[in-house]
């Protein structure tokens, strides 16, 4: 899969501009991903491509339209030095894999990258880069394929207190 390289602090307004937020269809949203900031992305992205970015990817608005659009565009994983909290969790919930790699900066535009989650590393054109493990409670959601799939089978959840108040 080919790498699309981005910098630091890529916010969710850049990933999905505010004027499209009344749309929820992943494929329609995908057509507007990075509109105005990187127009060739929506035109040229191919299923299986990856995004590689610097610090604080997905900062700003909680709009799930952002990871949904990337997934709709065929992106399967986003590798970054760090993620904004809400985006990270949203990505896992919708089945887009966020990978934290402190050496993300060494990955170049257009390189090929593969991930081994169990081994805990990326293979980038033959180089091996270690990645941070996904927290255990979120890994269960990743394994299910997303939060909807995880929650589907549950009737109740083990809330940490019996009484509600």
């Amino acid at each position: 899969m080919r790498v699309w390289k981005f910098g630091d602090n890529i916010d969710t307004d850049a990933i999905m501009p505010g004027r499209y937020l009344s749309i929820y269809d992943p494929h329609v949203l995908a057509k507007h991903a990075f509109e105005g900031t990187r127009d060739e992305f929506a035109r040229e992205v191919k299923p299986g491509d990856a995004i590689v970015a610097g610090k604080n990817f997905g900062c700003g608005s909680s709009r799930e339209h952002a990871p949904i659009a990337l997934k709709g565009a065929g992106i399967t994983m986003v590798i970054a030095e760090s993620f904004a909290r809400i985006f990270y969790r949203n990505a896992i919930n919708v089945g887009l894999l966020p990978v934290v790699c402190d050496k993300a900066g060494s990955i170049l535009e257009g390189e090929n990258v593969m991930v081994d989650l169990i081994g805990g590393y990326l293979i980038v054109d033959g180089r091996k880069l270690s990645i941070e493990p996904i927290p255990e409670f979120l890994m269960r959601i990743v394994d299910s394929g997303g939060l909807v799939e995880y929650a589907c089978g549950l009737q109740e959840v083990p809330v940490c207190t019996a009484s509600h108040q």
């Binding site: 602090n9 904004a84 409670f137 929650a151």
Partner: protein, 417 residues
Amino acid sequence: MGATIIEKIFAMKCKKDVCAGEVVMAPVDNAMIHDITGPLAIQKFYEMGGKKVHSPERVTMLFDHQVPADSLEAANNHAYMRNFAKEQGIYNYDIREGVCHQVTMEMGKAAPGEIVVGADSHTCMYGAAGAFATGIGSTDMGFALKFGALYFRIPETIRVETTGSFQKRVGPKDLILSITADIGADGATYKAIEFTGETFETMDMPGRMTCCNMAIEMGAKAGIVPPDTITWDYIRHVRNVVPFSLESDSNASFIENRTYNVTNLSPQVAEPHNVDLGVDVTKVAGTKVDQVFIGSCTNGRYEDFAEAAEVLGNRKFSDNVRVIIIPASRQEYLKTLRAGLIERFVMAGALVEAPCCGPCMGGAFGLLAPGEVSLSTSNRNFKGRQGSTGASVYLCSPATAAASGIYGEITDPREVK
């Protein structure tokens, strides 16, 4: 080892000692959804096999981002949510009340010690009420609607200690812009920020809301001001709860301590295109502006308009600037109206709109053309946030916005005599 205020809130809810880093499935006291993130949350609720919302009386629903419906899509989304509210017995404030965060506070949906989630990143604003409040995505919200609970990783806390009092025409927005510039856009990621010290102890609720609102701009999961008499006095008017004491223990462990003295703080302006690019107003004074926006959940309260009106005096806004003023809620609108400020703003040449998000999220009206410059009292200046990606947004306080509206260029409000 003592506990932080955040650890104490989770311990109270979970009825056991917990510490930062632990993951708990905690009950949610209130969940807020609006017209942008709500439809997807409802869809996810159904996809998860949801039939009955866990606690409909604990859901706050309203429309604020695209009101009145500004497109067919928006109208459809509103209709979809109205039907869901009816089906589930959820009270829907619809388009009547204003911006989600302001309304949630006004309606007493967040109180000290509570856990509140909202499908909107600025949900952290309710930390001003002493709640642990955090923004979540739509799928997490679907889960919370179905189960009335959510997984939380209890965050570590950065303690911000403030001293001193503000100069004239300098205030909470300037403080939070300078703290954001110092901590950085990702300096508090996954953490909570506790705002304490003399400056916060004497700050009114609107000022505390402005500061907690912007905790997310440093990546924080929550911002919080320990509840004191000012908090309880506010809560008393919106909610029937008996005051109790809630604060971090003196031997609690903080991941970081930071101190700020506001005595010599100048008005701050965040330059495009990141919120952590705050500088003294003097550095950017003279920059021509095309649009000034005073409003949003950050600074759309009566006190903000009073501050702007004090600077404006009997002057007019420049003919070269479009000044858009939008109270954050119906209640704030009425207070501003009754004080005669709406008339003053209209006389001065401003456009005053009914409560809503307005230009803040760049989806509805008040958009910017390429090359245009906007000065805004809202919380984000990302590229394209208020329209074209070729436009520039600067962030500031209501005083600086008013001063700049008068002269058509970024102006130090202390210079307006």
